[in-house]
Symmetry: C2
Subunit: 402 residues, 2 copies
């Protein structure tokens, strides 16, 4: 008897998560063992509250591949530890109502926690659906995989944008500091991508700071003073989550100290904090730039390698579910760099959920030529190629909206 499939998306957006959705839909549509292909609105919440749409006849797969953010919507929902909680009954009711044999969930760390809990909830059930997690995060911090779908496109955005910002900040013959704040609460992978112009043998960004390396404000100011002896326009790439030696987030004290007209605190980021610090200690022209949501949703700069891998891992996940795998996350294994090639596999989601993959300490010294080479060999294959553009009659980017 045919079983049906539900796919959902969760966590933060990327330029590639809809490519994985497209891969799931494509593989499910063409396999005779699968009946109806459902999409769950807002991740697991769509299953809980019975908000699903029928994608069995959806045909705009190519356009979906280059649509940023979650076409199905997302959620930030953490399932309870207690499997007797009513929410699990709601989920089970929906799965039974739609005769679901396969549940695919695309997301990052928190989403894999959902996959893990659902798998354990269904562990002893004969009618359990096959539950597969598909990795997605621009942060590249998921364990058990060489890299995560979504990272390549964000990395490409960061490298290209940093290259442009370096040109922009170089025009005036005066001393200046430009601080570029990059996403990454715990892992520095995205900031390493922003550092590519330097890692490829250039001078800039002059200073790179990632969360894995304790940050000292006084050393930072010393570095700027030193570098200003030989260059006018200092460019800094900094992860939003840098911390001092005690593990305190840089700027966290300023956050509680700064107040506006209403007496409310300014929730400014580390970039603004360092801007004020430089202004204060050095007094030169200084500017901070927060790359904000653009670094995760700029699908016009999507990496073809990333988008195609993201699509493939969606297809792969469906195959794994059809083969009877459950409680697993699909992963990417790198077979080689020259030429770059990958294969896909699965790992037990219990082994990866709630674990983080950080930048290894052997890569901390970005001035080391060997380290530069290794990081470039890791990142460069992931940012290659451009995705096809879909444009409407006005010449503007055109997206799938469910």
């Amino acid at each position: 008897m045919k079983k049906n499939l539900i796919v959902g998306q969760s966590g933060g957006p990327s330029a590639a998560i809809n490519a994985t959705l497209a891969g799931v839909i494509a593989a499910a549509q063409r396999d005779e063992r699968i009946g109806t292909v459902y999409g769950s609105r807002h991740g697991i919440e769509g299953v809980i509250h019975d908000m699903v749409i029928d994608l069995t006849d959806f045909r705009e797969l190519e356009k979906l591949k280059s649509t940023p953010a979650m076409a199905l919507g997302s959620c930030r929902c953490k399932l309870p530890q207690d499997f007797d909680a009513p929410v699990y009954q709601f989920i089970d009711t929906t799965f039974q109502k739609y005769n679901v044999g396969y549940f695919l969930y695309i997301g990052g760390n928190d989403s894999m926690d959902t996959v893990d809990k659902l798998s354990r909830f269904y562990a002893d059930r004969m009618d359990a659906p096959m539950i597969i997690g598909l990795p997605k995060t621009i942060d590249n911090d998921l364990a058990g995989t060489d890299h995560t779908p979504g990272y390549g496109s964000a990395a490409k955005y960061l490298a290209v944008t940093m290259n442009e910002l370096i040109r922009d900040t170089a025009i005036y013959a005066i001393k200046s500091v430009t601080i570029v704040e990059v996403m990454g609460r715990h892992a520095g992978w995205l900031t390493l991508a922003a550092a590519l112009p330097k890692l490829l043998g250039g001078q800039k960004p002059d200073i790179v700071a990632i969360p894995e390396v304790p940050f000292s404000e006084s050393f930072f100011i010393d570095q700027i003073r030193e570098k200003m002896k030989t260059t006018d326009n200092i460019v800094v790439a900094v992860s939003e989550g840098i911390r001092d030696e005690r593990g305190e987030y840089i700027g966290s004290s300023a956050k509680s100290g700064a107040v506006d007209n209403f007496g409310h605190v300014y929730l400014s980021g580390v970039g603004k904090h360092l801007e004020v610090l430089v202004k204060n200690k050095i007094g030169c022209k200084v500017r901070s730039i927060e790359l904000n949501l653009m670094q995760r949703c700029s699908s016009h700069l999507g990496s073809l390698v990333d988008i195609e891998e993201s699509f493939s891992i969606g297809e792969f996940g469906v195959q794994a579910a059809l083969a009877g795998e459950s409680g697993k996350m699909a992963t990417i294994k790198r077979n080689g760099d020259q030429p770059y090639s990958i294969s896909m596999d699965t790992v037990k989601v219990t082994d990866v959920a709630n674990r983080e993959q950080l930048v290894p300490s052997k890569w901390f010294n970005l001035e080391d030529k060997k380290v530069q080479g290794e990081i470039c060999r890791y990142i460069l294959p992931l940012i290659q190629g451009d995705i096809p553009k879909f444009q409407n009659a006005y010449g503007l980017n055109d997206y799938v909206i469910f």
Copy 2:
């Protein structure tokens, strides 16, 4: 006897100003009446301090066309009113040293002031070089021209990025407000480009605020409350230079009120100010995004129409100088929209220097279908087509660096 040419760039960067430089170089290189083609470093300062480079044999014109910011460097130098000031003698000395017959200056309002003053300084001199201003500003606020080179590429960046941000902000089923701050101290042209997804018949951005229309904070909050009845995720496009009915910049009081740990004021923009306002008055999730330098230097999203026009106006300026015109600014005249066609002309720089072209009042009501149509007819032809990519061996954007 052959005369030589100096070209310089001034003011703020754009994705197209190097295309105009390329046009000047191309036209000068192929005309037998011109000897050496010089580039002045950092605008007029390179002439004042004798910092020029020889571009006669420069060949990477196509790559230069897609290089963002000023390849020659820029300056923010205002020449004095007093023509007896020594700086004019320095300029004259350099012009004589290099046997300069033609001086081309690419820039915005302030740069045209330089062209105007230099022209008047040389007004009665038999050996005066021909002095031509070439318009450039992403702000599109120069008088005497249908639009300015550089605006089309920035407009394209804003429309594409807003389209992506709208997708990103739509994923969660919770009430939220996203405020996107766009450049434009006095004119709303760039914010109108960010509003294109709405002007083309969409719903978002939900609220658009430009400097030409007095802004009321209480009306703004009322608008958000009203719109939240029918939509979850409010998106706002706002010019950095919006003012209240008395002409005070919105958020200027907050700027003097907010202090950090050191007791220093936070120089946050209007986006952050409105973020705090919404947080305070409505209390929902709210985020502000400053598109910052990216909107002026993202040459990877350059408009082909803009880049080609920018190149052509550079060529045109050289022809005008060779024809004996001086004290003029080159301008673009729109001959038609369907098909879009332009021609070029010159105006006396005195008539345009220090004047601003604002968004006309007949275009203030963005809810009016007729107004939407007129603005789209104005902007859309300027953002068409993609510029060729220049990539190095690593697949990254590759630029000319003098």
